[in-house]
């Protein structure tokens, strides 16, 4: 019987990462979509960096940054009594950074497409900026949020390089599906590798199918931030 611990661990990691990124990525994306600051371009490039860097590079720096001998690492040890490297917490930190663009980019695009018109309309109806965000922007950007959440979740499930560098291969702690598959292949247990791989393929496909299907359905000609004039 195949060990399903890596599966639950992976889902747990993807869930925690997505929730954290939803809180972290939303304000970043909002700022990027609305700001006229000269810092916009550098920040935009910085948030996209995980897309283009080899995961090993990211993993290498994270390993150094989080090691108990570094400032951040020792601080973490002093408050939690546990090292960030080769731990589930460390994996969460690494995944949040690694998957950041998958949350920020779809959200920023969705926020930009809302335009200033509905925001002004809401302000003229006495809605505060925060109220406007939750009662107008979020519903108008529901597709953007769905895309961002699904992409972040699926992408976190599929990560390998960063996890290997930062988390290693500790059963029940850092051994996620992609690592387990790698290990199965290394030990020539192809049947188990097949099972997990095929499961991942199906899962990713179904997730994207749902996302695209939803986008398509609500993407009729009359949909959008209500900017018709006629």
């Amino acid at each position: 019987m195949i060990d399903l611990t890596p599966l639950w661990l992976t889902l747990h990691l993807a869930f925690v990462t997505t929730v954290i990124l939803l809180g972290l990525g939303t304000p970043i994306a909002w700022w990027l979509a609305r700001t006229r600051s000269p810092l916009k371009v550098p920040i935009e490039a910085l948030t996209a960096l995980p897309l283009v860097l080899p995961p090993t590079v990211l993993g290498f720096y994270l390993l150094i940054l989080m090691s108990p001998s570094s400032t951040l690492g020792s601080f973490w040890v002093s408050i939690t009594g546990e090292a960030l490297t080769f731990s589930f917490s460390g994996l969460v930190v690494a995944s949040v950074i690694y998957s950041l663009p998958f949350m920020v980019q779809p959200l920023a695009r969705a926020f930009e497409s809302v335009g200033h018109e509905p925001l002004e309309a809401a302000a003229s109806l006495r809605a505060s900026p925060l109220d406007t965000f939750f009662s107008v922007v979020v519903p108008l950007c529901s597709r953007g949020f769905l895309s961002a959440i699904v992409l972040t979740f699926v992408h976190t499930i599929g990560e390998f390089g960063v996890v290997l560098m930062v988390g290693g291969n500790i059963p029940g702690q850092t051994k996620v599906i992609s690592i387990a598959i790698y290990e199965h292949v290394e030990t020539l247990r192809y049947d188990d590798a097949h099972l997990l791989s095929l499961g991942l393929v199906l899962f990713a496909f179904v997730a994207l199918l749902i996302t695209y299907g939803f986008n398509r359905r609500s993407n009729g000609p009359n949909r959008g931030a209500s900017r018709h004039v006629g």
């Binding site: 018109e117 309309a121 809401a122 505060s128 949909r223 931030a225 004039v229």
Partner: protein, 366 residues
């Protein structure tokens, strides 16, 4: 009773345009902000609402400071008690019509007994409530937007060319609702328009804007009478507005008689204006001719004796603009230069104004 004012003293610089304004506008009735495209009308409204920020100056509404560059005050748009109705309606597409109305009602600060039901009733929105906003026609969208804005019970209503995106038929669907606003809700209104007919129809007072500055402000009738503003108000449409009282209807001749402080005019039957009602009539300069002797055998019914008050010759196009005092109201006539010379017209001469046509503009709500 003193009337509250909107004090505007601001310099607003946008990328390719500057608006400079220093005016006090009375907060009562309907004030039109009139001018050609690009004159700064929308910028003015957006500045009042807080969507544009002046570089320098101050804005206060009924004594409440909304902006003051010296004092570092800039009240954000959602805390200014203005209702802004946009040219493009800007309904929320994730809510149905009812949802859009309730959005406004839920957020209004003041305790007010204006109900959704009342607004729905006045604007005939009942049949639309359950509809998606994407299923509305242009005119319906504007009506919903107007209702939504009214439900915030603003201190000041800003209407930014609410009719400009509509074709003529739809405009005529909406106009009666706009006419009714002062009577039904009594909210001081700034009404932006580049259509002098709309302004003459709806506004008690007007502000004339051109190239980012105010050229004139005052009673609509007084502004429309001024020659020097024609480059801005449009000469072809020049004319006057006169107010009078309906004195009788003649069913057989299908006529309505209107008394203008002494002079009586007859207009085509206006049965919906009861005797005693105050009405506003529009007389265009090109519809008025002048005679120096009492005319006889004439088909024109409205002939008023008066005095030629003023003649302004426009040599470049061979015309003359004149003002005739008919014992109270003043009427403008546009004549040819040749006529002025042939009849030897001069200021102070007793004349007869022959009015070919008159349009009934709005039912008196002033």
């Amino acid at each position: 009773m003193s009337v509250d004012v909107l004090d505007l003293n601001a310099r607003v610089r946008l990328s390719d345009f500057e608006l400079v304004i220093d005016e006090s506008l009375e907060l009562s009735g309907v004030t039109a902000v009139f001018g050609p495209s690009g004159s700064g009308k929308s910028t003015l409204l957006r500045t009042i609402a807080g969507f544009e920020q002046p570089q320098t100056g101050s804005i206060s509404c009924a004594g409440e400071v909304w902006f003051d560059s010296a004092g570092g005050i800039n009240v954000p748009p959602h805390r200014r008690s203005v209702g802004y109705m946009f040219q493009d309606a800007r309904l929320f597409s994730h809510l149905d019509v009812d949802g859009n109305l309730k959005f406004a009602q839920k957020r209004r600060g003041s305790i007010d007994n204006l109900t959704v039901e009342h607004v729905v009733d006045v604007l005939d929105l009942g049949a639309l409530l359950e509809r998606s906003v994407d299923a509305l026609s242009g005119g319906e969208r504007q009506r919903v937007a107007l209702g939504r804005t009214l439900l915030t019970v603003p201190r000041l209503l800003l209407l930014d060319e609410p009719l400009s995106a509509l074709d003529q038929a739809r405009k005529e669907d909406i106009l009666p609702y706009l006419e009714n606003l002062p009577r039904e809700f009594n909210i001081p209104t700034l009404y932006v328009s580049h259509d002098i007919d709309e302004v003459a129809h709806l506004a008690d007072r007007m502000v004339v804007l051109a190239n980012g500055s105010v050229k004139a402000q005052g009673q609509t009738a007084a502004i429309l009478e001024r020659f020097d503003l024609e480059p801005y108000t449009g000469r072809f449409e020049a004319g006057v507005l006169v107010e009078g009282e309906v004195t009788s209807h003649d069913d057989r001749l299908h006529l309505t008689r209107v008394d203008l402080h002494g002079a009586t005019l007859t207009i085509p039957m206006a049965a919906d204006a009861p005797v005693g009602e105050r009405v506003r009539l529009r007389i265009r300069a090109r519809d008025v001719a002048i005679a120096t002797r009492p005319p006889q055998g004439l088909s024109i019914r409205n002939v008023l004796p008066g005095t030629l008050l003023k003649i302004v010759i426009e040599p470049e196009n061979g015309t003359a603009q004149t003002i005739i005092d008919v014992g109270g109201p003043r009427i403008r006539a546009r004549l040819t230069l040749a006529a002025v010379e042939d009849l030897n017209l001069r200021e102070g001469l007793p004349v007869y104004a022959l009015i070919k046509s008159i349009s009934l503009d709005s039912l008196g709500n002033s």
